[in-house]
């Protein structure tokens, strides 16, 4: 029996910003019929229904009111398409009005609006993607800079998958060895001693830990590192923010205390994505409005993973700079990085930090925010502080929070098993704990499926993918 699949449509490109072109994607048994109703090829001798897979045509899109834009239609034939079904991708001009009208025309032609993640779900259901790959697709879509796109691609290619399989097999080896010993008491099988079991477990634990660490770094790469720019008033924080952003985000004047509230922006700095907040200068303000701004600066400081402390190099170190140092010292713990930025190097440099306070910072950079002089050094320092480590070297990151959760559980179980073995707990309990670790890894790779996995994987898709 021939299967028919209902036909879905959605805008596949971003609708949140103006773009040159937009794509409406249609997938399902009637995808080409829908396309034929909304798209008229310029060459009337080549109707849509006769188009081969992986071919395109130029023409016009229309609805009941008539033609409304020029467009290009790409046709993919099942199973050689993203979803494994017949797919039509119609590229029109990028305006929101035109794009919506095209989508509406597709719906009127018989398609239904795709649910979140439905295209990718269909790709999984048709065996085009594995679950981990589907998660990586989300990563690719969400990638905001080159490194995170690279990470997502590596996850898609299954590098983490291979590492997970290697760990799984290492654990299975221990379990299998013990099982063989237990199940064949008459077969003279060597008993793996506790030392060897422990060393194998430790090795597996380390590999899992590396994956987890890379994920955390990878998350910073993907989501951006929460960053705060602080300093006493009028050191050039907003100028630095604008320099990093590449355009004016913050209002810059010579008047100390111009920035009264937090200005935020996502900044792409080298390989690193920063979720940066430019804050009001920290000082004991008399003005009530400014005081609120200062409080907000301090609260931002507490949530940051990266602190850019800006000092005015042209003025001597003073009480207000000291106050800033104290605030940083209060929040600086493991995992929080800080960089001292000595600004205004175009003027005479007189600032000197008190002895020992320089140790508070991971790096110190002198630059001129106004002209952009020595920006390279700051970028380098930020990349260093972000500690991209293995990720940059091409290590495989896990693709999602769900995968991380599985790996983290596996890690905990392996550690539990190792501890139990060291404490003298019997092998049956040790191995059953290792079983749980293997179970978590199988769940990660999609070899064991539960309701939760399926819904968790698909819940986080955006419409159109």
């Amino acid at each position: 029996m021939e299967h028919t699949v209902d036909t879905i449509a959605a805008v596949a490109t971003s609708m949140s910003a103006p773009a040159g072109i937009s794509i409406v994607r249609v997938s399902g048994s009637d995808a080409l019929a829908v396309a034929a109703m909304v798209f008229t090829p310029a060459r009337s001798d080549r109707p849509v229904r006769d188009m081969d897979g992986y071919t395109g045509a130029y023409g016009k899109v229309r609805d009941a009111q008539g033609a409304f834009d020029e467009a290009v239609l790409w046709v993919y034939r099942a199973p050689k398409s993203y979803t494994g079904e017949d797919v039509a991708e119609i590229c029109c001009h990028g305006g929101a009005v035109v794009t919506r009208r095209l989508l509406r025309a597709c719906l009127e032609a018989g398609a239904r609006l795709a649910q979140a993640g439905e295209f990718t779900r269909r790709a999984v259901l048709h065996g085009k993607l594995t679950l981990p790959q589907a998660e990586a697709v989300m990563g690719l879509i969400g990638a905001q800079n080159e490194l995170s796109a690279k990470c997502a691609l590596r996850a898609y290619e299954g590098a983490a998958y291979q590492e997970i399989c290697a760990v799984r097999d290492a654990l299975l080896h221990i379990i299998a060895q013990q099982s063989a010993f237990i199940d064949y008491p008459d077969e003279d099988i060597d008993d793996m001693d506790a030392e060897e079991m422990l060393s194998r477990m430790n090795d597996a634990a380390q590999r899992l830990q590396r994956l987890l660490r890379n994920y955390d770094v990878g998350e910073a790469v993907r989501e951006g590192i929460p960053t705060v720019i602080v300093g006493k008033p009028n050191t050039g924080k907003s100028t630095l923010m604008n320099l990093l952003a590449g355009y004016d985000k913050s209002i810059v004047t010579d008047v100390a205390g111009t920035t009264r509230d937090v200005v935020e922006g996502t900044l792409c700095v080298g390989d690193v994505l920063l979720r940066a907040a430019d804050t009001a200068g920290i000082r004991d303000a008399d003005n009530a409005v400014e005081r609120i701004g200062v409080d907000r600066s301090l609260s931002r400081l507490r949530g940051a993973a990266l602190i850019l402390a800006v000092f005015d190099a042209s003025r001597p170190f003073d009480e207000e700079d000291l106050r800033v140092l104290e605030e940083i010292r209060a929040v600086k713990t493991m995992g929080v990085h800080a960089i001292a930025v000595y600004n205004k190097t175009d003027l005479d440099c007189v600032l000197e930090l008190p002895d020992g306070d320089a140790a508070l910072f991971d790096a110190q950079v002198s630059l001129c925010a106004k002209s952009g002089g020595n920006l390279e050094a700051l970028i380098h320092a930020i990349e260093g502080a972000a500690d991209l480590g293995d990720i940059r070297m091409g290590a495989a990151p896990l693709a999602s929070e769900r995968q991380r959760d599985c790996a983290a559980r596996a890690f905990t179980f392996v550690m539990d098993a190792a501890r139990a073995l060291r404490d003298g707990v019997t092998v049956d309990a040790v191995c059953s704990t290792l079983d749980l670790a293997v179970g978590a890894l199988l769940e990660l790779t999609g070899e064991v499926v539960s309701d939760a996995v399926v819904s968790q994987v698909f819940a986080s898709f955006c419409v159109g993918k």
């Binding site: 237990i182 199940d183 008491p185 049956d428 059953s432």
Partner: protein, 648 residues
């Protein structure tokens, strides 16, 4: 025709066929039963006993009455995971554990060092007395007829439902249920070296004709193979050169109702093969039917013949073997670990290279045997054939190996046949409830490509499914079915109460850091106390046992060993047990998502072809079972979940 003429009417004739030959048999009616069991092995015995004890008119047919409950391979019951099965059979009201307790020669608890989950009871048993015990139990059972006859045909009525059997002599018996438990006898062939002949184990006739009848009614048969080692004469063994292996001092019985003191009666002996043995085997490999390709049947990887071991583990300088007495009334010894299908002269030559066997006298040669068995994916978890109402399969016929696996299935088939006839709920044991449930789920869901043997590693719930708590897990199920008596349930409840009470007590009793106690703690390699600690917390330490603390716990009540054992295990493994219980809960959610019986898997969008075929054939009861079918991928399971959602 009048009755006085005393000539009975010939009902009809039917054609019997075997290997291309066919002949007509004149049939005559000989009786009517609710349940007919074909086969008197371990599966057949449990099935027939369960049926009769549950009040159904039952008949057991065997090729020979002298072969009932025979142990044609090793003279032992139990072993790793198999011991668990026997205790579960006992908890459900089966007979095997009692028979083993009544006739054993030596008892050992295996894997003592590896923790309670894998402790496994194994006994050497007296082969003839075991047979005698079981035959007598069958004979004494009300409502059970035991008959020596070869069943050659299973009959279906017009609706395709089982209605009776016909024997080789033409006797027809009506039956509402037929349980096939033919073991290794179905069209069996014995191989020794280059020679082969049609026979069952121990010189019994093979079953000829029944296979054709089963195929005719839709049973898919295939060929499996197994083997057994030689039996040798006691006087030819030089025991002075062998390691002696004794039984346990404190014997744990198999049956929860065995209360008498048990004692070991014999010893076993250990020896090893050597390079010379292996040379003899390697030189003569070409004379083995396994290597010359004469045997087509699939043998078990986990129970290799000695020639298999020598070839596959070529780097191993020696293999262990055990000499086990076959009974108190015989001088036959079983040579465990040396199963072979090499010719007799080669067998003798390689055995004589072994220390202690230099002058060995063989009484029965080792052989391989090939037989027909069914594809268990044709079965429901009740062990009924999906498409043949009234037909059940049990034991080696279902593709397993081993007495214990067989008995477990026989019991379940017997119970479910009875429940079906009475119109009651079937007994379907979950994987998390028992090794029996795991065994049957594996068989009917995954099928088997080689004789299936139970192993502890087949269960994901090992810490829950211990041999020590089979009563706690299953006895109530046996009671609900009607095989376990009220008194046993009462005893179980008393035991549970005692356990709870004692756990509550040791959780309360606090011991101070006395010098004596700290000395004990240090001797046992665990940290001394600095302040008061409960007895329970001390028992939780891996280095200490419940018994160790007796001198410091003067108010300890006098409790049976089984109670003390549970107290100790529950305290020590609390955390691990809790984790497995959580796992059971998670899996349960998938088991609760039932798949409709009439699901048309071929019409479900997105299922891969292989998955469609497998699901169509196996017809899983729920998503959990579906996810365990090999060939059904996680993607297919997600399709099923989405499809189920749409059905609501």
């Amino acid at each position: 025709m009048t009755e006085s003429e005393a000539e009975l009417q010939i009902q009809s004739e039917y054609q019997c066929s075997h290997k291309g030959e066919s002949w007509f048999i004149r049939m005559y009616e000989m009786g009517e039963y609710d349940i007919i069991v074909i086969g008197g092995g371990h599966a057949g015995c449990e099935a027939a006993l369960a049926g009769a004890r549950l009040g159904l008119r039952t008949a057991l047919f065997t090729m020979t009455l002298d072969g009932i409950a025979n142990l044609p391979c090793n003279p032992s019951i139990g072993g790793t995971a198999k011991g668990h099965l026997v205790r579960e059979i006992d908890a459900l009201g089966g007979e095997m554990g009692k028979a083993a307790d009544a006739t054993f020669l030596q008892s050992r608890m295996l894997n003592r060092g590896k923790g309670p989950a894998v402790h496994s009871l194994r006994v050497q048993t007296d082969r003839v007395r075991y047979h005698g015990y079981m035959k007598k139990v069958l004979e004494k059972t009300e409502g059970l007829s035991v008959k020596q006859a070869e069943v050659v045909r299973v009959e279906l009525d017009g609706n395709g439902t089982v209605c009776g059997v016909v024997t080789r002599l033409g006797a027809r018996y009506g039956a509402r249920v037929v349980i096939v438990a033919t073991g290794t006898y179905l069209e069996s062939t014995v191989f020794v070296g280059e020679e082969s002949y049609a026979a069952g184990p121990d010189g019994v006739l093979p079953s000829r004709g029944l296979s054709a009848s089963l195929r005719e009614i839709g049973v898919v048969l295939r060929r499996f193979k197994t083997g057994t080692p030689a039996r040798i004469h006691r006087r030819s063994i030089d025991f002075s050169r062998l390691e002696e292996q004794n039984g346990d001092e404190n014997i744990t019985p198999f049956s929860f109702s065995t209360t008498r003191e048990l004692e070991n009666k014999v010893s076993c002996y250990v020896s090893y093969t050597n390079e010379k043995t292996h040379q003899v085997i390697r030189k003569n490999l070409h004379r083995s039917p396994l290597y010359s390709g004469k045997i087509e049947g699939v043998g078990p990887r986990y129970c290799p013949s000695i020639e298999d071991k020598v070839v596959r583990f070529a780097d191993k300088p020696r293999h262990q073997l055990f000499l086990e007495p076959m009974g108190l009334d015989t001088d036959e010894f079983y040579v465990q670990g040396m199963s072979s299908s090499l010719p007799e002269d080669v067998q003798l030559a390689f055995m004589r290279t072994i220390e202690g066997l230099e002058h060995v006298e063989v009484m029965r040669s080792a052989y391989a045997i090939e037989y027909d068995c069914c594809d268990p994916t044709q079965l429901l978890p009740t062990l009924a054939f999906k498409d043949i109402p009234g037909l059940y399969g049990a034991g080696q016929f279902n593709g397993t190996s081993g007495y214990e696996e067989a008995a477990a299935q026989g019991l379940v088939a017997g119970i479910n046949a009875s429940m079906w006839l009475k119109g009651k709920e079937p007994l379907i044991l979950e994987r998390s409830s028992s090794y029996i449930g795991t065994l049957i789920d594996d068989l009917v869901t995954k099928g088997c490509n080689e004789p299936y043997r139970m192993m502890t590693s087949r269960s994901e719930y090992r810490l829950l499914l211990r041999q020590d708590n089979a009563d706690d897990r299953l006895m109530e199920r046996g009671y609900q079915v009607g095989l376990v008596k009220e008194a046993q349930i009462k005893a179980l409840q008393d035991k549970r109460e005692q356990i709870e009470k004692e756990i509550a007590r040791v959780e309360k009793v606090t011991l101070g850091p006395s010098q004596e106690l700290n000395q004990l703690l240090q001797e046992k390699g665990t940290a001394p106390l600095h302040s008061g600690t409960t007895v329970a917390d001390l028992i939780r330490r891996p280095q200490l046992s419940y018994a160790d603390l007796a001198p410091f716990d003067p108010d300890r009540p006098d409790l049976p060993y089984a109670v003390k054992e549970q107290v100790e295990i529950r305290l020590k493994y609390e955390g691990y047990i809790r984790k497995q219980l959580a796992q059971v809960e998670m899996v349960k959610r998938l088991e609760e998502r039932k798949l409709p019986e009439d699901a048309d898997y071929r019409s479900i969008v997105g299922l891969r072809l292989e998955a469609q075929e497998k699901l169509e054939r196996i017809r899983p009861l729920n998503i959990g079972q579906a996810s365990r079918i090999s060939g059904v991928s996680p993607a297919d399971v997600s399709v099923l979940l989405i499809w189920l959602d749409q059905q609501r």
